[in-house]
């Protein structure tokens, strides 16, 4: 290969890449981007679905059943606690379902780019619903009443969701029994920590962590009382300003194929 030949190829395609990169950064290519994603998302859904089925082949159905039962029981426990709190506050007997099903749209997981089965867990998910379905950046993504993550990017026909375990995501939360407020910070892998809990507040092992709610005036953000996870360990040092706790989600993110986006809160 002549050196000048590949240099000219290099310069041409580097220039093209940089032009596209620049145009994409300032949003000029958004319609083209959305169109391309719309065309490619069915193929992605097909391959992701196939791989998800393959990874499920080795799992024990009895354990999966117990996990599902555990989720349902946890949901019941939280609903009951909420009901007691409502009664205490002399509110009416109307039991609210959180989140309301009328506010949800169902979405298929069509990709989990940062994921190697057996080595790492997903940090982001790609969904087959986008702006055309009312999905916006900032909306919460749930499975039953468990928080999965937050929408961080959208195109017309797909959305990018940052999972709660992603190190780039943090939000306010509270514990169920002791109502101690704190900040949930993703740690990568399957880890999360509940940080910034003042020392005077009490934390309990096995206590559930719920979102505190940070919905803005436009209705975007994380609604309150979604399940984030369960406290596994507490780290409290009298010389520190705050105490923290290790939190684990009840959801196995690598096996998710269907989730729900809260489009209207």
């Amino acid at each position: 290969m002549q050196k000048r030949n590949f240099v000219s190829y290099f310069l041409i395609f580097l220039a093209l890449s940089l032009i596209i990169f620049g145009a994409s950064k300032i949003g000029l290519l958004k319609p083209l981007d959305s169109l391309g994603k719309g065309i490619l998302s069915p193929f992605q859904a097909l391959t992701y679905g196939t791989f998800a089925k393959i990874t499920e082949l080795g799992s024990n159905p009895q354990i999966e059943g117990l996990k599902a039962q555990n989720l349902a029981l946890t949901k019941k426990l939280i609903d009951q606690s909420k009901l007691i709190a409502d009664n205490k506050a002399l509110r009416d007997q109307f039991q609210t379902q959180n989140p309301k099903s009328s506010n949800l749209i169902e979405a298929d997981v069509i990709g989990a780019p940062a994921f190697i089965p057996g080595i790492s867990v997903p940090e982001t998910l790609i969904l087959d619903r986008g702006e055309s379905d009312g999905v916006k950046v900032g909306q919460a993504v749930v499975y039953e009443d468990n928080l999965i993550g937050q929408v961080v990017g959208t195109s017309l026909f797909s959305a990018n969701v940052m999972l709660v375990t992603n190190p780039s995501l943090s939000f306010t939360a509270k514990t169920l029994i002791t109502q101690s407020p704190g900040v949930i910070k993703g740690q990568g892998g399957e880890e999360m920590i509940l940080d910034n809990v003042v020392l005077s507040d009490s934390l309990q092992k096995q206590d559930m962590v719920l979102t505190k709610g940070d919905v803005n005036a436009s209705g975007l953000g994380l609604p309150p009382d979604l399940v984030v996870g369960k406290i596994n360990a507490i780290s409290k040092n009298p010389s520190d300003l705050f105490q923290k706790a290790d939190v684990k989600s009840l959801i196995d993110f690598s096996k998710l194929t269907k989730v729900f986006v809260i489009v209207n809160y």
């Binding site: 290969m1 030949n5 290099f10 395609f13 032009i19 990169f21 992701y48 940090e123 790609i126 990568g188």
Partner: protein, 137 residues
């Protein structure tokens, strides 16, 4: 060779876009370049990089630019040294994968993934080498 490259990179793209962080497209491009040293691989690097950015919600052009620059560096290196060796493929896969994952903001076991990538890159190189030889025969 172009058909082989297209098929290999398409499979790599499907894997990388749907499921796995390991930069299969990059590894495929590297192996094909080491074996064929053809200019048209720049076109493949550009096109597959764009599609990859599209389906993984990255800024369009980022992967293309990385692939094109890396291929260029490999070609510059090959003008002085031999590149069709296991050692070169292993280290180039490691460095490229590490840089690529770092550049695109992945922060989950990057080092482990880069090591895994270099092993996969080496295996891919040996497989493509055998397959392309059998095609020639």
């Amino acid at each position: 060779m172009k058909v082989l490259a297209f098929v290999l990179l398409t499979i790599a793209l499907i894997l990388e876009a749907s499921l796995i962080t390991i930069p299969f497209v990059f590894l495929g491009l590297l192996c094909l370049l080491v074996l064929s040293r053809r200019n048209w691989l720049f076109i493949f690097a550009f096109a597959f990089g764009l599609v990859l950015d599209l389906v993984t919600f990255k800024t369009l052009g980022a992967s293309s630019a990385f692939f094109v620059i890396f291929l260029f560096l490999v070609l510059l290196y090959q003008s002085k040294f031999e590149i069709a060796t296991n050692a070169f493929v292993f280290f180039a896969s490691f460095l490229g994968s590490f840089g690529y994952l770092l550049l695109l903001g992945y922060n989950n076991n990057i080092l482990l993934q880069a090591i895994l990538s270099s092993i996969i890159g080496l295996l891919l190189f040996k497989s493509v080498q055998r397959f392309s030889k059998s095609l020639v025969i």
